[in-house]
Structure formats: structure tokens, C-alpha cells
Amino acid sequence: MLDVVIRLAIIVAAFLVLPLLVGQTEHKVMAHMQSRLGPMYAGGFHGWAQLIADGVKFVQKEDIIPAAADRTIFKIAPAVALVPYLVVLIVIPVGDGLVGVDLDAGLFFVLAVMGVGVLGAIMAGWASANKYSVLGGMRAAAQLMSYELPLVLAASSVAMAAGTLSLSGILDEWQWWWLPWQALGGVVFFVAGLAELRRPPFDMPIADSEIIMGPMTEYAGIRFALFMLAEYAGIVVLGALTAVLFLGGWHGPLLPGPVWTLIKIGVLAFVVIWVRVSYPRMREDQLQRLAWVGLVPLALLQLALTGVVKVVMA
């Protein structure tokens, strides 16, 4: 019992700290990539407390709900966007045996729950009673439809290679040569995951310059902050999943397992930020095209490659 409590406490702490770390990194990395300094004042040393200050500001703001909004749905949408990522963290193994709950169908569970996160955006878009929000919500739905397929296909390739759906089981089977073998699937998984998080360059549903933050248009104060937190928690979860499935999770030389997992998550989070700074937003039709013409065939190719190697090896 105590063991479970400790594990859950650690997971909640990680869920609260890691997204803030990613957010602060995004502030600084993005600033320096644009030849700026980023936050420099909050907290004294290079603005380390900027996101805490942001959080305090968000809490103080008025909680506005539009008159025409569907109040109940409007209120629970941020939670629907945020909580799935917390739930996903429970089954992600950080080290050998260091996992909240080792589910047999862990991979299946993770993919299913991550899909729920997108539901939050659709609910928010619909409940806001704002045409831009509805547009954003519909785009989010379209994006979920098209990118869930390559995501699942790429993930299933790893499950096929390991012969199990348990995330810890996959890592137990993992060998270093899986890196090149599953590389294509890894790229597809990461890109599709990026699209599900609606991060640039796949941020058409949010598109602040044309549909003014899409589903989040009408949100203010702490609810808006929860959406932002969900975005960063999503980056952490995507990084963790990619690390576990394709980069070997806790496997690595010299350093202890959990450190390796955190390093891999950190590097992937950096790549997410890096891609955001480097590329312009894709048009809606380009987005759909990339999913159906680009990623789905690549994921199928990876699946075929995995099958062939599996059969040859057996």
C-alpha cells in the first residue's frame, strides 16, 4: 500500500515539475534561437521563476465564461485535456521495475488515453460558442482522425517486434540494434505525436494568427493555464513514449536507468521546441496530406519491415 502511495506521489510530482521544466526550456531555447535572451528577471537568476510567476498571474485573473457557452462542458474541458497525460505517466516505466502500474496492455492503454486528451480540445471548441473555437475544435478532430492511424501503426510495429503490449515487457526485450531497425517507425511516431499535441508546425487547430488560439479563444485565467500545462505535459508524455518505444528507455551505458530515461525525454523535448522554432505552420490540406500520403505508407512500410525481420530471425 505504502509502495503504491509513494509511486503515485512521485508520478504526480513529476507531472507537476517536468512540464514546467519543459516550458522554461522552451522560453529560453526559443529566445536564444531568435537571438533574444528570454525571461531574465523573475526569480533573479535568468528568469528561472518565470512560469511560477505566470501561474500566479493566471490564478489571479478573472474566470470568464461566455454567456452562450455550454457551461458544464466549458468548465470540464481543460481537465479532460490535462488529466489523460497524468494517467499515461502512471504506466510509463522510468527504470527497471520503476513504474507506477505495469499493465499487460500498457501500450494499448497509453494510446487510448492519449486520444482522450484531444477530446478536451474538441469539447472546448464546441462549448465556447465561438466560430473560431468551433473551427479549431473541428480541425483538432480532423487532425486526431488522420494522425492517430500512423501513431498506432508505428507503435504496433514495436509491439510486434517485442511480442508484447506491456511497456516494461518491450523494454525487457529491447536490443541496441532495434534503434536502426525501428528508426523509421520512431520518426513516424514522433511526428504523428507532435501533430496530436497540436504543436507547431502542426498547430493549425490553434493557429493564433488566424483563428486566435482556436479552442482556447474564450478561455482565461486558470483554465487557460491548464490548457497550456496540458500542452507541456503532452510534450513530456510524447518524449517519454518515444524514448520507451524507440530509443530503449532506461537502456544505456554507464549512467543508471532512470537518468537515461530522463536524458532521452529531455533531448526529445528539446527537439520538439527546436522544430517549433524552425518551421512555419502547415496549411490544413498540407497537414492532411502529410498524414495520409506521407506517414501512413511509411508506418506500413515499417510494419512490413518488422514482420520480415521477425520471420527471418525466427
Binding site: H32, Q34, S35, L37, W274, S278
Partner: protein, 191 residues
């Protein structure tokens, strides 16, 4: 050579990475004073001793933002001379809420009494406080930097060039004496 697919994407990533590793150009202004270029136009300074209250600057100013009051003072006659009059500057004020920083007053001043100063931190919460009198303008005169050295390779300044031109030699075969001031020739007596 065939184009490598994704080369453009990699190039984009390389550009941002290079910028991240480079020092950012931001100057932390309130902590670090900015390095201003020479002849920066911050504020107009007045050297009061040089001003003759000739009003040229006030009349040239497109915004009419220079206010000058003066009175005439008669100096006591020196030995064997006559009393001289001179202008005494009573008030010289520039309203920087009207000024458009064109610098025409500085160009117009024939006596080198007005200068550009790089001082720029005189913003104020009340627009009426932007009317600065001659004492404040005189304080700013102390912040005027010496002019930067002449650019190497640039043509010499026209004042120096004019001073260095040698006087023309009289043309050969021409009688200089033929040029006389009018009326210097004696009229021949008609009688």
C-alpha cells in the same frame, strides 16, 4: 547532383541551432547603457555663451518649439569710442513635446550655440515637463561628445578644401590694371 529529400528541413534546423549557440544581441538596457552611434540625436543642447539671440533657430523651426526672450543692453563706451549695444539672452527654451528632432535649428545656428547631445533619458509622465529651459539645455551641452574623426578615404571636408585651394594666378597677356573700380577713370575734359 540530385536534391537530397529533407535537405531544406535540415537547413532550417541548422539555422536555428547556429543562432542558439551564438551570443544574443540583446542589450540589457537599464543595467547596461546602450552604445550609441556617433552623432546620435538624443536631445538638443545649448551653449549659452555662443548665443546672440539672433532668433534664426526659432524662425527656422518647423514646429515653432523654440522660445527666445532677450533684451538689448548698452555697454559703457570704451575710451574714445561710442557705446556698443549687445543682446542679452533672458530665456531660451525648447518644448520637446513639440520638437520633431529634425535638427534644422542646429543647422541654422550661425554661431555654434546648438548641438546634438546623445542624452535620451528625459521622458516624463507629464507633457508640460518636456519644456526645458536654458539651464537644463546647458547641462546637456556638457554631454555633447567631440565629433568623430573623419572617415578614412572620404573626400576632405569642404571647409578645409576651400582653405587649401591656392589663389589663381593672373592670366598672362591680360592687363590687370585694366580692371578698375568704376569712377576711378578720369573723365576727359569735354572742353
Amino acid at each position: 547532383m540530385a536534391r537530397i529529400p529533407g535537405a531544406g528541413l535540415a537547413k532550417g534546423l541548422a539555422v536555428t541551432l547556429r543562432h542558439m549557440l551564438r551570443r544574443s544581441v540583446t542589450q540589457q538596457y537599464p543595467q547596461a547603457k546602450p552604445e550609441l552611434p556617433p552623432r546620435s540625436r538624443g536631445v538638443i543642447a545649448l551653449v549659452e555663451e555662443n548665443c546672440t539671440s539672433c532668433m534664426l533657430c526659432a524662425r527656422e523651426c518647423p514646429d515653432w518649439c523654440i522660445y527666445i526672450d532677450s533684451h538689448k543692453e548698452t555697454l559703457p563706451a570704451p575710451e574714445g569710442g561710442r557705446p556698443r549695444q549687445r543682446n542679452v539672452l533672458d530665456r531660451f527654451a525648447i518644448d520637446f513635446s513639440l520638437c520633431m528632432y529634425c535638427g534644422i535649428c542646429i543647422e541654422a545656428c550661425p554661431f555654434d550655440a546648438l548641438f546634438w547631445s546623445p542624452e535620451f533619458e528625459y521622458a516624463d509622465g507629464d507633457i508640460r515637463n518636456l519644456l526645458h529651459e536654458k539651464d537644463q539645455l546647458g547641462v546637456w551641452a556638457a554631454t555633447v561628445p567631440p565629433p568623430p574623426p573623419h572617415d578614412p578615404g572620404a573626400p576632405p571636408p569642404k571647409e578645409l578644401a576651400a582653405a587649401a585651394t591656392p589663389a589663381r594666378e593672373p592670366r598672362a597677356g591680360r592687363d590687370v590694371r585694366a580692371i578698375r573700380p568704376p569712377g576711378s577713370l578720369k573723365r576727359e575734359d569735354p572742353s
